[in-house]
């Protein structure tokens, strides 16, 4: 029973982080039709910015806000500087090819990842460092029993749900949000209907940049920060997004928690050495049994 609770609580708190990563991926996928492999690179970079500010005696919360804003700016830069010039090359023979239109942005995002890691290495060296948490990470107690979950974990879970609600409202209730959905589904038609597809896409990159920056700020207090440590989270977040449905915000959050439990239970009941294999098997199963994801809708899946 103790092992079960350990796995359950660990899965819940880790799952919240994975949900945030997965949410960031889904935001860009819905807004721009790209899976952003540089996402955790952006998260790493903005978390370093926050860490630097805190070392220069800024308060935690001002560093937090600046990091979120720089996450948005970085996301917008990626779109304006890279993705937009890429997709606007309609005359390019290479991009006329169906498969290359989806492949080239993936390669471009990998380039961004490489550059961000190298720049972070130059600026902050490759050494692992810690990162503070906004509220004390102390285990909760019920009576005499200490639970394997901390106040900080609950805070993260809260943040995930607030983010989910805000983005859902944005997508379903605001004109801009509806335009974003439309532009991802069918850019040509959307353009013809007078919506400025370009700025809508940039906005979705910026929102996703903020979400991933948030993920970086909230995962590092429990682990360490270094140019490479967040790589693994991208893989996990991707799996979560596919499991939940790449085009569903709620699905991505659900997927995050599911993958969190899978990892935690494999860790406790099987062995940590099996975690990567479990992720791969789980991802393949998800792709074959329900390729559109648990909450994803079938018609827009572009597999």
């Amino acid at each position: 029973m103790d092992s079960f609770l350990t796995a359950f609580f660990s899965g819940t708190s880790q799952g919240a982080i994975y949900a945030l990563v997965s949410l960031g991926l889904v935001l860009v996928w819905r807004g721009a039709g790209v899976v952003n492999f540089a996402q955790m690179g952006q998260a790493m970079f903005t978390t370093y910015i926050a860490s630097q500010l805190i070392q220069n005696d800024y308060s935690y919360w001002s560093a937090f806000v600046i990091a979120l804003v720089s996450g948005a700016i970085l996301g917008a830069i990626v779109d304006l500087g890279l993705m937009r010039p890429l997709t606007s090359r309609k005359n390019s023979q290479l991009l006329n090819s169906q498969s290359m239109r989806t492949t080239i942005p993936v390669i471009a995002s990998l380039g961004i990842l490489g550059v961000l890691k190298a720049v972070a290495g130059i600026l902050w060296a490759g050494e692992e460092r810690g990162f503070p948490s906004p509220i004390a990470a102390n285990a909760l107690t019920i009576g005499d029993t200490t639970l394997a979950i901390t106040g900080f974990d609950l805070f993260v879970i809260g943040v995930v749900f607030v983010t989910l609600v805000l983005t859902t409202i944005f997508f379903t209730r605001t004109g801009m949000g509806l335009a974003m959905r439309a532009s991802a589904l069918n850019p040509e038609v959307t353009r013809l209907s007078g919506i400025r597809v370009g700025s809508v896409r940039t906005l979705s990159w910026a929102i996703s940049g903020t979400a991933s920056s948030l993920a970086g700020l909230l995962v590092t207090p429990k682990t360490n920060l270094s140019p490479n440590t967040l790589d693994l989270l991208l893989i996990v977040g991707f799996t979560a997004a596919v499991v939940g449905g790449l085009n569903s915000l709620a699905g991505s959050v659900l997927g995050g928690f599911i993958v969190g439990y899978v990892i935690a239970f494999v860790n406790v009941y099987s062995a940590p050495e099996n975690v990567f294999l479990a992720i791969l098997v789980f991802l393949l199963l998800a792709l074959f049994i329900r390729p559109q994801g648990i909450l994803g809708s079938k018609e827009v899946r572009r597999v």
Binding site: F37, I104, L283, L287
Partner: protein, 338 residues
């Protein structure tokens, strides 16, 4: 260039080009000092892996971020055959091709249902998972210690023929024939009907299906061929010294993709050029940083930074890579066709 060609003529052209490549590298190696001879061996080895991407991504339109993992399959199978069964390295290399092709078959069956970002993500997960298999099944795969294997010594008939052979030269002589053969195979493949079928699927699946092409089968075959190449590359790469999890890292997978993109995903000449760039660029940068006396903190990260920038500049300004730039110049003279 006429589209109607008999296989015989194509075969002759591929043979000619492969021989030119072989002789060119050999001539280059004679001008080089031992270290750069070794780098040429590296180029020959990695070229095979880059060609597998040219085939898979460039010709059939399927992206893989996990070629390093397939290389690991080739490396581990050949190392096991040599250390556990006592086979000769050469036989092990050839068998590794078959093992990886078989692996590619399974992978291809899964991948044929995926495309674009889904395939990219899944292969990336695989790139992380495969090395951890080595740790999980430690008794068979040797955990993170792996297998220390090497090319051994050159055979006597060769040393009798051309005199003493250094370790660096020997590694080149092992890798180069395989590189030339792979080049020959890929040149042939891309000019035959199956190559054209692949390109049709790559450019428009719906149109290809309407033309009677079996999409799934085409994709699986491309995966099998690419995996066979990657597995061979992995075997030769591992026998440089160690077959172990840290040899086939995700960084390696991404570096190979970078080489293919910089050179031009669709061009075989581009694959050669891209491989030269990723192998020699760090050396060139080291010379520059030494000359400028840059601090360690910058110089250590400079190769990764420049290779990343090169990749970005390529996809933004010239997504078809260096080979694409050439085509562009040619287009001024020839009519547009594809």
């Amino acid at each position: 260039m006429s589209k109607v060609k008999t296989h015989k003529v194509i075969g002759a052209r591929s043979t000619r080009l492969a021989i030119i490549f072989f002789i060119f590298i050999l001539l280059l190696s004679m001008q080089f000092d031992p270290y750069n001879q070794y780098q040429l061996a590296n180029i020959s080895t990695l070229l095979i892996a880059v060609l597998s991407i040219t085939l898979l991504t460039g010709a059939s339109g399927q992206i893989s971020l996990g070629q390093g993992a397939i290389m690991a399959v080739g490396g581990y199978s050949s190392a096991l055959l040599v250390t556990k069964l006592g086979l000769s390295m050469w036989i092990a290399f050839v068998l590794a091709i078959f093992v990886s092709a078989l692996f590619g078959l399974f992978l291809g069956l899964a991948a044929a249902r995926l495309s674009g970002p889904y395939l990219a993500g899944t292969t990336l997960v695989m790139a992380l998972a495969i090395p951890s298999v080595a740790i999980r099944f430690e008794s068979l795969f040797g955990g993170d210690i792996g297998f220390t294997v090497d090319y051994g010594y050159p055979p006597n008939w060769l040393t009798n023929l051309i005199g003493e052979i250094s370790i660096e030269e020997w590694s080149l002589y092992v890798a180069l024939p395989f590189a030339a053969l792979s080049l020959f195979a890929v040149l042939n493949l891309s000019n035959t009907r199956s190559g054209r079928t692949w390109r049709a699927v790559r450019d428009n699946e719906v149109a290809a299906a309407l033309a009677g092409i079996n999409i799934a089968r085409t994709k699986v075959i491309a995966f099998v061929c690419a995996s066979a190449l990657a597995g061979l590359a992995g075997a030769i790469y591992g026998f440089r010294g160690l077959v172990g999890p840290s040899v086939y890292s995700t960084d390696l997978s991404l570096l190979l993709l970078t080489a293919a993109v910089i050179g031009g995903l669709r061009s075989i000449g581009g694959a050669i050029f891209g491989t030269f760039v990723i192998v020699f660029l760090p050396d060139v940068i080291e010379r520059i940083t030494k000359a400028l006396a840059l601090p360690e903190t910058i110089s250590n990260y400079l190769p990764a930074l420049l290779i990343g920038f090169l990749l970005l500049l390529t996809v933004i300004f010239n997504p078809r890579g260096s080979a694409g730039a050439l085509e562009h110049i040619r287009h001024a003279r020839h009519s547009h066709k594809h």
